[in-house]
Symmetry: C2
Subunit: 325 residues, 2 copies
Amino acid sequence: MSHRSDWFRSVLDEAESNIRKLLKIPDAYHVLFLQGGSSLQFSMIPMNFLRGRKLEATYLKTGYWSAKAPPEAGFEGAVKILWDGAEGGYRNLPEQYELQIAPDSAYLHYVSNETVEGLEFQYIPESKNVPLICDMSSNLLSQPLDVEKFDLIYAHAQKNLGPAGVTLVIIKDELAQSAPEKLPTLMDYRTHIKAKSIYNTPPVFSIYTLMLVTRWLLHEVGGLEKMHEINIRKAQNLYEALDSNSGVYQPYASPACRSKMNCAFHLKDEQFYEVFFAEARDHNIMGLEGHRSIGGIRASLYNAVTENDVDCLTAYLQYFAQKSH
Amino acid sequence: MSHRSDWFRSVLDEAESNIRKLLKIPDAYHVLFLQGGSSLQFSMIPMNFLRGRKLEATYLKTGYWSAKAPPEAGFEGAVKILWDGAEGGYRNLPEQYELQIAPDSAYLHYVSNETVEGLEFQYIPESKNVPLICDMSSNLLSQPLDVEKFDLIYAHAQKNLGPAGVTLVIIKDELAQSAPEKLPTLMDYRTHIKAKSIYNTPPVFSIYTLMLVTRWLLHEVGGLEKMHEINIRKAQNLYEALDSNSGVYQPYASPACRSKMNCAFHLKDEQFYEVFFAEARDHNIMGLEGHRSIGGIRASLYNAVTENDVDCLTAYLQYFAQKSH
């Protein structure tokens, strides 16, 4: 089957159309399906919007993931870290008043949700006239979004969108057209705009599955307001289970920055980890190990995790807390 | 499921091990699973092996596909087209004596099989001490290969390897280490060597399916010698059907350069195209339309096409020839 067939075009078109409906994306934005994940976006963004310019690109360094972006920009030009949470162990996010961005910045880049530490921005940073670029890999399509506040939004698929292999990019035409003339063809957003995401063979299976996921969100879940309500209930349920057993569990993120997508926490008594993971497996709860950078426990609550799944987890957390007390 | 799980590591390891066995790859070469297709390799290769060097990169321009590579190298340095088949309409490939490569070339890049025109190199060009780089997207794993003649071989998956989304790279360690110090992380082959193909989330489904394909080649087909025998029979069968009806069909490629993977041909009488495609569909034969650049008809004979499939096609070609005579 050709990726230039009418059938595959209809898959791409439905995926785009569903995403436009879900996020209410204005016409001034293109919806693109690329490859390479967020890691390639870390490079493409400065190639397109920093290279050859006498401006600084501004980055927020708010966790393990977002810290990977500024070095890639450093290959292309000057970089300013406007806010750095490393010293505090990435337990907090900046407040709006802390973000005084230079008006001649090339762009402001941030990550809306830090998967490792479980931090989620509860507001959209004000960037004034500076183009606002956001990596939403881990919370796009988990809630409604005011796309017009942004100039470029991107997300790899493998959290809420579909299987790994495709990267969703929502880019304002004005920003895309501001890139320098000569860029490697595949690194130039205009290539993909012009070719409607089939300049070269796209990751067809990942896109097909992403299309099915957007169809499910739109027609079965009933839109992002509904998805958001579900995600809020899931997160509240989980954090309540932790907070009501504060003698046993220690959430990693400051309460004001808690993520609805990823919840990282530690056991107050280190000797219980082995039993915790072993008994969790006995309860058919897998993959709770925290990221190697901070250890401990992490539960992810992406769209595909049901309220019933979270009930199972919180029941286990209650059981384990009572038992280990 | 984490791409860093033991299970997915075992998938990657088996895929690599099967490919090493099938192609008898020496230890001095790394086997990598990347993203972005051959199009991204067109950019990565000059970034790694031409950037910042006062040398020319040498390219063979032998068809619609290979013609896309040199402009990407032009972004990084000087490019020499050693042989250009454009004037002849890409019906021929160069012979060895026509390829006198400058000994101080950065590398020699060519495409072993041109899918659009149906041209396939029947020999490996002699590059002396110049690193030899080959895009084998459309014929890798279709026949045995002397990997040691090459410094870098790459292939996107969607011809003989598996579903689109993963790009196989076989690179000699010595070449990979010769790249400049500072490259965008994801564009640096050393990143993927060091991270054993999981620097970032790989296209897991495509890699899993590729692993199954290599398992099939190794254990069910019985290796590349066997696959080659089948592919030779398929191609002979098809070209014989065309040659024995030379009043009706006109193969595109010169006989000496005919590809075993793609056969492009025209009808001598233009008015029969509509009937040809319509009746083919009635016989359940789809996707025979030639590439827009040369029109006509194209039949691809990748590994997944069975001898029985080719028998159906040649029976139709015979039927149509008799009918239209």
